[in-house]
Symmetry: C2
Subunit: 137 residues, 2 copies
Amino acid sequence: MIKLSKKVEYAILALQYIAENSSKTNTAKEIAGKLSLPYDFLSKLLQTLMKKGLLVSQLGVKGGYKLVKQISEITVEELMNALDERSSIVDCADGDSNCCSRTEICDIRSPIMTLQEQINNIFKNTTIANLKNNINI
Amino acid sequence: MIKLSKKVEYAILALQYIAENSSKTNTAKEIAGKLSLPYDFLSKLLQTLMKKGLLVSQLGVKGGYKLVKQISEITVEELMNALDERSSIVDCADGDSNCCSRTEICDIRSPIMTLQEQINNIFKNTTIANLKNNINI
DNA sequence: TAAATTCCGATAAAAATAATCGTATTTTTG
DNA sequence: CAAAAATACGATTATTTTTATCGGAATTTA
Ligand code: FES
Ligand code: FES
């Protein structure tokens, strides 16, 4: 509860890595190797980011991934949306159905939505670049 | 990812219900019935809240639960701590081990912690009473 | 044509969450 | 005292979500 998925965690690290090596195309294999992340999982994740327009890919030998925009322009919210098809704090917050209250009118829906927005704002206001240490330790 | 567990969701509803009926002791059965929540699950959850000091229970016939303090004095953070043994945004944030980076020094730990704190603050500043609609719909 | 790569669908394994069950204990009340 | 209505508690199961893996197809370079 209230935690980042590995997908998002790995993606943050990968995007930062690609940003640092933005002069070249970066292969999934290299990134996985350097960051010690599971290759298959990372690979799929990068493909998703590519499909969502955060990365461009080049096929074949000499292929790999490059950034489309700078990591200072990619928010955590954007990344979460791209990878996790948007999860909300409670089920109703992104849909139709009554999620919490089994009575006719939900007693907490509106304030829960407010809570949701506050959390969204944090992720909206944090970029992948913000999540990079300037000084280690 | 970033969502409330059913435990917390049910607990919010249950605490609000108990608050509305604070003149009497409320049985798990009644609460589950009125809110259409699974009895066994709710029952265990209330026992946990009791052990954590948020509720007092009375055994036997005429037994049930009462609040110890008002719901305007119980924060969501408190509730989450009581029910879920504290989950943090990434593994390292509540422990010892290196969680994200497999390299020697974690590249994102410190800013992730900042993110964590921002989220914590939201839950720290929201009470169960805050999560109650004044006007339905 | 071979090697390095992305791409894609399917599936499997693991972990976390949610729900259920059986039984013991406590208290009230008739 | 006995029965009923509760909580208390441990164990287990079921379900869902998350994480990881696999096998092969398509693409590009050299
Ligand atoms: S219906 Fe979603 S919070 Fe109540
Ligand atoms: S070791 Fe936890 S965020 Fe890096």
